[in-house]
């Protein structure tokens, strides 16, 4: 019997995130901040870390499941074995979780990561992984 995963419920808005990122002097601090955001993600049950929930195309392991908030808007739960990827999941949570599904399906995540300057600081393989996660979220939001 699997436990239901706890959906990601972000504590700050994307604009606040961009502002916080902008306040930091260097990328060491931004990575620290990103990793901290990842650490605050709700725990993803180990028994749900199965192939069916795995996002293909990521070099590290990523598990992702769609769901809804109590208000009925789009939400998801996700986890990774890599700290920086967990941080990226947290950013995706800020972007996607709590949005009406139709709106979530239209989010331009690439532009958002560009606004954070993160696009230039991710290796191509990580970018591929991010594209794979965004693809899954779009697919789930469109089907919700």
């Amino acid at each position: 019997m699997s436990t239901a995963p706890t959906m990601i419920a972000p504590e700050l808005s994307f604009d606040e995130l961009v502002e916080n990122f902008g306040l930091m002097d260097d990328w060491d601090d931004r990575y620290r901040y990103l990793i901290d955001l990842g650490r605050k993600l709700p725990a993803f049950p180990d028994d749900l870390k199965v192939d069916a929930h795995k996002v293909r195309g990521c070099m590290s392991q990523v598990w992702l499941m769609p769901g809804r908030t109590t208000a009925g808007t789009f939400a998801f739960a996700a986890d990774s074995d890599a700290h920086i990827v967990k941080g990226l999941i947290a950013v995706l949570g800020i972007l996607y979780s709590g949005k009406p599904a139709a709106e979530a399906a239209q989010i331009d995540a690439e532009a958002a990561f560009g606004a954070l300057g993160l696009d230039q600081h991710l290796s191509p393989s990580r970018r591929n992984g991010l594209v794979a996660m965004v693809g899954k979220l779009k697919q789930y939001a469109a089907a919700a």
Binding site: S60, S80, D81, H83, R126
Partner: protein, 417 residues
């Protein structure tokens, strides 16, 4: 200083700091920090001599080879064939005809699997591989296994990453037709006992293919004394350009093998009814070959040959032991691959941090290491890791590079843990 004088000076001492100046890219910075390049096992940087040789080939003597009856084509052909002779001398092959240029080591191994394999393997025959092989020395054999009905048997590694001859003895038997093994593991740095494996394989009438990508980089290779039947390596790990690789095989083997790809250059006569093949090595070099990359590889061999390679190997061994020593001092670091006989490649993991995160954070300090499964997923599974970080050392690395890695690791721990 002339090359000869320099070689004489280098014979007793080897000065990596001076060598660094030959590699233009090492002068650059990344993220505002001096570049600390510790990923030579993936691809080595190129000395200016290689870049100059390739530029000169394009600027002054470029045309297609083996066909034009004009000066430029003749010059390009001479230079291309001179590169083949340099490779021959470098590995001590009997004749240049035993050197087949390919686009890389992967193609060289695929060539053997597809041609020798399809011609010689049948149901019941066994292909012997080791657990630590690169995917390039696994997948081509799976393809030919599925085409011929042969089976693959795997030699297990020990916990420290070593592969003792006794492990080979358990697997090599009367059904063995070929043993394909790495000279040096790209993940662990383990040096495999090639000579002993050759003896065992030949005793049962099996051939031996050596994936020499990492081996030829760290020690001088003499294919005749090694005794193997095939030796494959790539140019880009040997300080040469990419898009060039080498397959060495004894002439009689090459002559008995059917062609790999069909096309120009590899034929003697063509009619719609049938074609006949060119002599080796042309039989295996269909189409316009990698002309300038071959010349670049020749220049890389010239470059390396100015040094006493034993002194270079000793320098790399010192780097490895310094790295192993200093890495084990970092809290939470676990060395992966500690076999007795090792080349200058060291995998490691940090408790509580994913190797990808580690590589990302190290990069911020200018330190380039590889993280991942290193194209050796069966090895990762055997070791019980999904990924490792790997530092690999080349001719231009210094103990200062190792120390920079250690300093960056301490900083990474502080960010990631």
């Amino acid at each position: 200083m002339t090359a000869a004088a320099r070689k004489a000076a280098m014979a007793t001492t080897f000065d990596p700091v001076a060598v660094r100046c030959d590699f233009p890219i090492l002068a650059r910075q990344v993220h505002g920090k001096p570049l600390v390049y510790l990923d030579s096992a993936a691809s080595a940087q190129k000395p200016k001599a290689v870049l100059d040789a390739m530029t000169a080939a394009f600027e002054t003597e470029y045309a297609n080879v083996h066909r034009g009856a004009y000066l430029l084509s003749e010059r390009a052909t001479v230079n291309y064939e001179a590169a083949r002779e340099k490779v021959r001398a470098f590995v001590n092959a009997k004749e240049p005809a035993e050197i087949v240029f390919t686009k890389g080591a992967t193609e060289a191994i695929n060539l053997v699997a597809a041609t020798w394999g399809r011609a010689n393997l049948k149901p019941g025959d066994e292909i012997v591989l080791t657990e630590l092989e690169h995917h390039s020395n696994i997948v081509p054999w799976q393809l030919v296994r599925d085409q011929t009905g042969a089976t693959i048997r795997v030699v297990k590694i020990e916990n420290d990453g070593g592969v003792p001859t006794t492990a080979f003895a358990q697997v090599i038997g009367p059904r063995t037709k070929i043993v394909a093994l790495a000279h040096v593991s790209n993940v662990l740095g383990t040096i495999l006992p090639v000579e002993q494996v050759v003896e065992m394989a030949h005793a049962v009438g099996a051939k031996v293919l050596v994936d020499g990508c990492q081996g030829i980089v760290h020690e001088s290779v003499d294919v005749q004394s090694l005794g193997c039947d095939f030796y494959a390596f790539s140019g880009h790990k040997l300080y040469g350009p990419n898009a060039i690789g080498v397959l060495w095989a004894r002439r009689e083997l090459l002559e008995a093998m059917p062609p790999y790809q069909g096309g120009g250059e590899m034929i003697s006569t063509v009619t719609f009814e049938r074609s006949t093949w060119a002599e080796v090595p042309a039989k295996f070099e269909a189409g316009t070959p990698p002309i300038v990359p071959a010349i670049g590889l020749g220049a890389a061999i010239d470059y390396l040959s100015q040094f006493d390679r034993a002194a270079v190997a000793a320098h790399e061994r010192d780097l490895l032991s310094h790295a192993m020593h200093r890495l084990s001092e970092v809290p939470g670091i676990k060395l992966v691959g500690t076999a007795q006989r090792k080349a200058a490649v060291q995998s490691f993991v940090l408790d509580g941090a994913h190797p990808h995160d580690l590589a990302t954070v190290l990069d911020r300090s200018g330190v380039c290491v590889r993280a991942g499964h290193h194209c050796a997923q069966p090895l990762m599974a055997a070791l019980g890791h999904t990924a490792t970080a790997r530092a690999s050392f080349g001719i231009y690395n210094t103990t200062a590079d190792v120390d920079a890695l250690i300093a960056a690791l301490h900083k990474a721990r502080e960010i990631l843990l």
